[in-house]
Assembly symmetry: C2
Homo-oligomer: 68 residues x 2
Protein backbone atom coordinates (compact mmCIF):
# COMPACT_ATOMS: atom_id res chain seq x y z
CA UNK A 1 0.00 0.00 0.00
CA UNK A 2 1.20 3.50 -0.75
CA UNK A 3 0.22 6.90 0.60
CA UNK A 4 1.26 9.95 -1.40
CA UNK A 5 0.48 13.63 -1.00
CA UNK A 6 0.26 15.94 -4.01
CA UNK A 7 -0.16 19.71 -4.19
CA UNK A 8 -2.98 20.90 -6.44
CA UNK A 9 -3.57 24.42 -7.72
CA UNK A 10 -6.99 25.99 -8.15
CA UNK A 11 -9.24 24.21 -5.68
CA UNK A 12 -11.41 26.84 -4.02
CA UNK A 13 -14.52 25.22 -2.59
CA UNK A 14 -16.20 21.97 -1.60
CA UNK A 15 -17.37 21.45 -5.18
CA UNK A 16 -13.71 21.41 -6.18
CA UNK A 17 -12.99 18.88 -3.44
CA UNK A 18 -15.79 16.67 -4.73
CA UNK A 19 -14.58 16.92 -8.34
CA UNK A 20 -10.99 16.03 -7.46
CA UNK A 21 -12.04 13.23 -5.13
CA UNK A 22 -14.27 11.69 -7.80
CA UNK A 23 -11.58 11.74 -10.49
CA UNK A 24 -8.71 10.49 -8.34
CA UNK A 25 -10.90 7.77 -6.85
CA UNK A 26 -11.27 6.28 -10.31
CA UNK A 27 -7.55 5.59 -10.69
CA UNK A 28 -6.67 1.89 -10.50
CA UNK A 29 -5.88 0.68 -7.00
CA UNK A 30 -6.93 3.85 -5.17
CA UNK A 31 -8.65 3.10 -1.88
CA UNK A 32 -8.80 6.55 -0.25
CA UNK A 33 -8.58 10.19 -1.29
CA UNK A 34 -8.31 13.00 1.23
CA UNK A 35 -8.38 16.59 0.04
CA UNK A 36 -7.23 19.38 2.34
CA UNK A 37 -8.75 22.47 0.76
CA UNK A 38 -6.91 24.97 2.95
CA UNK A 39 -3.55 23.34 2.25
CA UNK A 40 -4.29 22.68 -1.42
CA UNK A 41 -3.20 19.10 -0.95
CA UNK A 42 -4.55 15.73 -2.01
CA UNK A 43 -3.45 12.61 -0.15
CA UNK A 44 -4.04 9.34 -1.95
CA UNK A 45 -3.89 5.84 -0.57
CA UNK A 46 -3.45 3.16 -3.21
CA UNK A 47 -2.44 -0.46 -3.62
CA UNK A 48 0.60 0.60 -5.64
CA UNK A 49 2.24 4.03 -5.82
CA UNK A 50 0.59 6.24 -8.44
CA UNK A 51 2.70 7.63 -11.24
CA UNK A 52 2.90 11.41 -11.36
CA UNK A 53 1.53 11.22 -14.90
CA UNK A 54 -1.58 9.30 -13.86
CA UNK A 55 -2.21 11.68 -10.99
CA UNK A 56 -1.63 14.74 -13.19
CA UNK A 57 -4.08 13.39 -15.75
CA UNK A 58 -6.78 12.81 -13.14
CA UNK A 59 -6.32 16.26 -11.63
CA UNK A 60 -6.41 17.81 -15.10
CA UNK A 61 -9.59 15.90 -15.90
CA UNK A 62 -11.17 17.38 -12.78
CA UNK A 63 -10.24 20.84 -14.02
CA UNK A 64 -7.24 21.61 -11.82
CA UNK A 65 -3.47 21.32 -12.01
CA UNK A 66 -0.81 19.50 -10.08
CA UNK A 67 1.69 21.93 -8.66
CA UNK A 68 4.99 20.95 -10.33
CA UNK B 1 -40.38 41.34 -17.58
CA UNK B 2 -37.96 42.24 -14.80
CA UNK B 3 -34.19 42.20 -14.60
CA UNK B 4 -32.63 42.35 -11.15
CA UNK B 5 -29.04 42.05 -9.96
CA UNK B 6 -28.18 40.56 -6.58
CA UNK B 7 -24.85 40.32 -4.78
CA UNK B 8 -23.95 36.86 -3.53
CA UNK B 9 -21.24 35.92 -1.05
CA UNK B 10 -19.10 32.82 -1.27
CA UNK B 11 -19.03 31.90 -4.95
CA UNK B 12 -15.47 30.93 -5.81
CA UNK B 13 -15.45 28.78 -8.93
CA UNK B 14 -17.41 27.60 -11.95
CA UNK B 15 -19.01 24.85 -9.88
CA UNK B 16 -20.46 27.57 -7.68
CA UNK B 17 -21.74 29.37 -10.76
CA UNK B 18 -23.42 26.18 -11.92
CA UNK B 19 -25.01 25.53 -8.51
CA UNK B 20 -26.41 29.05 -8.24
CA UNK B 21 -27.62 29.07 -11.83
CA UNK B 22 -29.42 25.75 -11.36
CA UNK B 23 -31.22 26.85 -8.18
CA UNK B 24 -32.22 30.31 -9.34
CA UNK B 25 -33.38 28.95 -12.70
CA UNK B 26 -35.99 26.90 -10.84
CA UNK B 27 -37.76 29.96 -9.45
CA UNK B 28 -41.13 30.62 -11.05
CA UNK B 29 -40.99 32.92 -14.06
CA UNK B 30 -37.22 33.01 -14.36
CA UNK B 31 -36.05 33.04 -17.97
CA UNK B 32 -32.35 33.86 -17.61
CA UNK B 33 -29.65 33.76 -14.94
CA UNK B 34 -26.26 35.36 -15.45
CA UNK B 35 -23.60 34.92 -12.80
CA UNK B 36 -20.56 37.19 -12.78
CA UNK B 37 -18.08 35.30 -10.64
CA UNK B 38 -15.52 38.09 -10.41
CA UNK B 39 -18.15 40.60 -9.35
CA UNK B 40 -20.01 38.18 -7.10
CA UNK B 41 -23.24 39.16 -8.78
CA UNK B 42 -26.22 37.27 -10.13
CA UNK B 43 -28.49 38.96 -12.67
CA UNK B 44 -31.91 37.40 -13.08
CA UNK B 45 -34.46 37.99 -15.81
CA UNK B 46 -37.97 36.95 -14.86
CA UNK B 47 -41.57 37.46 -15.91
CA UNK B 48 -42.30 39.25 -12.64
CA UNK B 49 -39.82 40.78 -10.18
CA UNK B 50 -38.51 38.22 -7.71
CA UNK B 51 -39.01 38.80 -4.02
CA UNK B 52 -35.83 39.14 -2.01
CA UNK B 53 -37.06 36.26 0.13
CA UNK B 54 -37.46 33.90 -2.82
CA UNK B 55 -34.06 34.84 -4.16
CA UNK B 56 -32.43 34.49 -0.73
CA UNK B 57 -33.98 31.03 -0.34
CA UNK B 58 -32.68 29.87 -3.71
CA UNK B 59 -29.19 31.19 -3.03
CA UNK B 60 -29.22 29.55 0.40
CA UNK B 61 -30.34 26.27 -1.16
CA UNK B 62 -27.32 26.44 -3.49
CA UNK B 63 -25.07 26.87 -0.46
CA UNK B 64 -24.36 30.60 -0.62
CA UNK B 65 -25.73 33.82 0.83
CA UNK B 66 -27.25 36.97 -0.54
CA UNK B 67 -25.25 39.98 0.53
CA UNK B 68 -27.68 42.00 2.62
Amino acid sequence: MATQTFQVTGMSCEHCVDAVTAEVSQLAGVTAVDVDLAAGSVTVTSAQPLSADAMAAAIDEAGYQLTP
